[in-house]
């Protein structure tokens, strides 16, 4: 399990990247995908996921399509054009950050 405070800042990037790779996804699907990709190390609770999704939607980075599954509504989230280029930037930024961090944290040879 990866600690929550490590995840905090990267949740948005994870969601954006998933949507960039998978065209459209619904909430539960996103949590499952993250669990699968991380080998169960990252468990997204819906308490963390949905605020981010709604914020991204309000900011115009993602949009929703509604589909009926029986009587209930399923919301599929898709990246908008703005969101797509933003997602790329965010992912690049993140890799940059990880590289820097790796460099900073790698053990120094004696």
């Amino acid at each position: 399990m990866i600690a929550n405070d490590l995840l905090k800042g990267t949740l948005r990037t994870i969601v954006l990247k998933l949507l960039a790779d998978n065209r459209r996804m619904y909430g539960y699907e996103i949590t499952k995908k993250v669990e699968e990709l991380s080998d169960g190390k990252i468990v997204l609770t819906f308490g963390a996921l949905y605020p981010v999704l709604h914020k991204l939607e309000a900011d115009g980075h993602i949009k929703t399509d509604i589909e009926y599954i029986g009587k209930r509504v399923r919301k599929y989230y898709t990246l908008t054009e703005v969101g797509r280029s933003w997602a790329e930037r965010k992912v690049d930024e993140f890799f940059d950050f990880v590289n820097t961090l790796t460099y900073v944290l790698k053990p120094t040879p004696a």
Binding site: Y28, T45, G47, P51, V52, K55, G70, K71, R72, R74
Partner: protein, 406 residues
């Protein structure tokens, strides 16, 4: 098959969700679908609907749905987000201003006081209230307005005290005392209670309490460290030493005067004139010292008692009451001018100037009334004895020189 069973229960699940405190429709849809997916997955593994639903429901937890809604709505609330950004901005701005102020102060550049004051004011009036409002709004469980208000008052008063001290405004002591009082009887108990409540929920962190107590101790020390016991003792010892030197010098002066009278020395008039003037100055100092002691204890304290009852800020009271400086320094300067006029020998004149150093403008600027506002009584007492000693020595040097001049 599974889908049908879930579909039959959708309305019930929706009502359960709403009953748990989730009312924001777009979120209800999300959570409903999410829960149904969880149930479906469990049922696919062979569990019954009721079991699966119960498991999924437990995994939500009691408080999570209102919390979810609260956080989502805050994220969507543009005003709140703007306020949050403004809070960060003000925090950063005040930090930069304070940093500049600190550098200016260290480098003795002009404007350090204004920068530090401005930085602290931005914190007190801008950053701090906004920060507490933002964090208060973001809290979901059991909000209490008392905690942020007490926290605000504590920090605001302590920072205001810092402003008063930097600007040398009067009443700094009172503001500091109020701040410390709120800290000790308000904030600390609240903090500890709060920490224990959190601890009961499993978020135990005694480190914070220790940290807080250390912080309190540091703040309390900070305001007292300038005059520790040792410093006060040093002033007392030096004052006692000065007094014995004054006694000795005055004894020698008396011997010279007696001999001048006996021999009907030709400079006798000048010697007696000098002695009268010096005596007058010594009397003024004695009066000031009496008032100084009386300010601590109306019955007139001994030096030993004074040391025990000393308090920072006494300097201001005493100076205001005793009128230290103005009249005295005028007379002392006249005394200096007379001595240097009467005495011819340049080396003796230099010695006199040195002994009466306190009449010079640099000394006055650095140790005069403006500078001793925060001095404890014992330090002012010591300065008085130092001045008294200087007068006695100057007198001694002057009349010895007159005696030898023939």
């Amino acid at each position: 098959m599974i889908a049908d069973i879930i579909d039959d229960n959708v309305d019930r699940i929706r009502i359960d969700i709403i009953n748990l405190g989730l009312t924001y429709e777009p979120l209800v849809d999300d959570v409903l679908d999410h829960l149904c997916c969880m149930v479906e997955e469990n049922m696919e593994n062979g569990d019954s609907f009721e079991n699966s639903y119960a498991k999924a429901f437990i995994s939500i937890g009691d408080n999570r749905l209102p919390e979810l809604q609260h956080q989502t709505l805050l994220l969507l609330n543009k005003k709140h987000q703007k306020m949050k950004k403004l809070t960060y901005f003000l925090g950063l701005a005040s930090a930069i201003i304070l940093l500049f102020g600190a550098i200016s102060k260290h480098m003795h550049w002009p404007g350090a006081g204004i920068e530090l004051t401005l930085g602290l004011l931005v914190i007190i009036l801008g950053f701090l209230p906004l920060y507490l409002i933002v964090t208060y709004r973001e809290q979901t469980d059991k909000k209490s307005i008392i905690y942020p208000v007490v926290a605000y008052l504590t920090i605001a008063f302590l920072l205001t005290a810092a402003v008063f001290r930097i600007q040398h405004w009067p009443a700094a002591r009172i503001v500091t005392t109020i701040g410390l009082a709120i800290l000790i009887i308000g904030f600390v108990p609240l903090y500890i209670v709060n920490a224990f409540q959190k601890a009961r929920k499993g978020k135990v962190n005694p480190a914070y309490i220790i940290l807080l107590l250390v912080g309190v101790a540091i703040i309390a020390l900070m305001f007292n460290v300038r005059f520790g016991k040792e410093a006060l003792d040093t002033y007392r010892n030096e004052a006692i030493l000065n007094e014995s030197r004054i006694f000795e010098t005055e004894h020698q002066i008396q011997l010279i005067i007696d001999s001048a009278i006996e021999n009907e020395h030709k400079a006798l008039d000048e010697i007696q004139e000098i002695h009268a003037e010096a005596e007058n100055l010594q009397k003024m100092i004695d009066e000031m010292l009496d008032k100084l002691l009386a300010s601590v204890n109306e019955e007139g304290s001994s030096l030993e008692e004074l040391r025990k009852m000393d308090y920072e800020g006494a300097g201001r009271d005493v100076i205001v009451k005793s009128g230290w400086a103005r009249d005295f320094i005028t007379s002392a300067r006249k005394f200096r001018n007379n001595l240097t006029e009467i005495v011819d020998d340049p080396v003796t004149v230099n010695q006199i100037q040195d002994h009466l150093e306190f009449t010079g403008s640099v000394w006055f600027m650095e140790f005069g009334p403006e500078e001793v506002i925060y001095d404890p009584v014992i330090k002012i007492y010591y300065k008085h004895t130092d001045v008294s000693k200087g007068i006695a020595l100057a007198e001694y040097v002057a009349i010895s020189s007159l005696m030898d001049s023939e």
